[in-house]
């Protein structure tokens, strides 16, 4: 007897399922589909990729840009003093137009310094050597390997740049939900509770709180209702410059004839200064047990 309609449909259905299942299962076993898609789309969402069919992304990396696979910061705490730490904070906040708000409930911080017991909460004990009690430990965003903030962001406003591992904020997309602030175990993120850069009138430069200095005209300001944090000076790296805080430390070190307190470099490059520092010194990281893989190392 020949193939009747019922039998034909059965065979057709089964063979379609079988043909689809083989490549799908092997692909699933080999890679995490989300990671695979992310890589395929270069960090854009599928919708954006569709848009790009009509709207091709432009531009290329500037020739003078510093490139690396995974940027890291090494803080040599023994070389730090209050003066250098304060200079780092001041310069970073001036360069990036970080609003200076005195009210601690509204304050915005990209880089700041704190005592050992506040920075290494899990590793503190009351008999720690006296000299560590009041050393200014510089803290900033850790640009984690596996950032919790990126995972929770509903709009992909915060994302990990695949090429060099920097965790960045796209303030154009931030909707101010503050999930990232709840997720970040390091308190590295600040929310703009009040208008950070009020303008007196259209056509004038925004000024923060009358009488204070005007913003750096080369960097944008922001609006009320967005979250912000350290960006490892991504805009300076693109121009071939090292992060502003590291530059401050290098200048201070030259003046005082000491080693620079901050070092910045590519962890993936075995000949880099940071690899050499980490190889020859004992270093610790903040809350490594949480598994986020922080990329700021402290030599103590």
């Amino acid at each position: 007897m020949g193939v009747n309609r019922r039998k034909f449909l059965k065979i057709a259905g089964m063979s379609t399922l079988g043909a689809a299942a083989v490549p799908a299962s092997s692909a699933l076993a080999a890679v995490n589909p989300i990671e695979w898609l992310d890589k395929k789309l270069g960090g854009f969402t599928p919708f954006e990729t569709l848009l790009h069919l009509f709207h091709t992304p432009v531009g290329f990396k500037p020739g003078e840009a510093l490139t690396g696979k995974q940027w890291v910061m090494v803080v040599n705490v023994k070389e730090l003093d209050d003066e250098i730490a304060e200079a780092c904070r001041e310069t970073c906040h001036r360069v990036h137009n970080v609003p200076q708000i005195d009210n601690p409930r509204h304050e915005i911080k990209w880089i700041w310094h704190s005592e050992y017991k506040h920075v290494f909460t899990g590793q503190h004990n009351e008999h720690i050597a006296e000299k560590y009690h009041h050393l200014p430990f510089l803290v900033m965003c850790n640009h984690c390997e596996n950032p919790a903030c990126v995972r929770v962001c509903p709009t992909k406003a915060t994302f990990k740049r695949k090429q060099d591992g920097i965790v960045l904020m796209d303030m154009h997309r931030c909707i101010g939900c503050r999930f990232c602030m709840a997720a970040c175990p390091f308190g590295a993120r600040s929310f703009n509770w009040i208008i950070p850069w009020p303008r007196e009138s259209a056509g004038t430069l925004p000024r923060f709180r009358k009488g204070k200095e005007p913003p750096n005209p080369e960097y944008p300001t922001r609006v009320k209702g967005v979250v912000e944090k350290c960006n490892f000076c991504a805009e300076r790296l693109a121009k071939g410059q090292i992060p502003a805080c590291v530059e401050v430390c290098q200048e201070a070190a030259k003046e005082k004839g000491k080693e620079p307190a901050l070092a910045f470099g590519d962890l993936a490059d075995p000949d880099s200064e940071v690899r050499e520092l980490l190889h020859s010194h004992f270093s610790i990281r903040r809350k490594p047990e949480l598994g986020t893989g922080p990329n700021v190392y402290y030599i103590v």
């Binding site: 432009v58 500037p62 840009a65 090429q163 430069l205 300001t221």
Partner: protein, 133 residues
């Protein structure tokens, strides 16, 4: 057709009613605004016609490229290299330093309110320029 006259009259009245805003305001529009082009620089990153119609798409692409990918250099149609930056390239002193007479004239005329300037810093203009306008 039953009641043909009424239907045709109804259609005519309907068409007149629906097109009322078009013919009633015809010819009463304000004259097209004249934007003040930069004096020092004569060429933009794309031909003038493209920039007129597509500058918003271009700026959007620049934003995506610089913020998300980190590609900050752009080769213009004439082969020149530019840093993709609204504040430091487009609005630099050599180019569109006069926002109120360039951007704002068209945007005000067409009722477009781009929120670029909520965060990005527009170049500071001398008060005289404001008065002339």
């Amino acid at each position: 057709m039953y009641d043909g006259g009424k239907i045709v009259a109804g259609i005519i009245i309907g068409v007149i009613f629906l097109t009322f805003p078009i013919w009633y305001t015809h010819g009463t529009a304000d004259p097209r605004p004249e934007v003040k082009l930069p004096e020092k620089t004569k060429e933009c990153v794309q031909p003038k016609a493209y920039m007129k119609t597509n500058h918003m798409q271009l700026i959007d692409l620049w934003r995506d490229s610089t913020v998300r990918v980190g590609n900050r250099s752009y080769i213009a149609f004439n082969g020149k290299k530019y840093d993709m930056s609204l504040q430091n390239t487009c609005m630099s002193q050599d180019c569109h330093a006069n926002k109120s007479e360039f951007c704002d004239r068209c945007h005000d005329y067409t009722g477009v309110v781009p929120y670029c300037w909520d965060c990005h810093i527009a170049p500071e203009e001398k008060p005289q320029a404001e008065e002339k306008h």
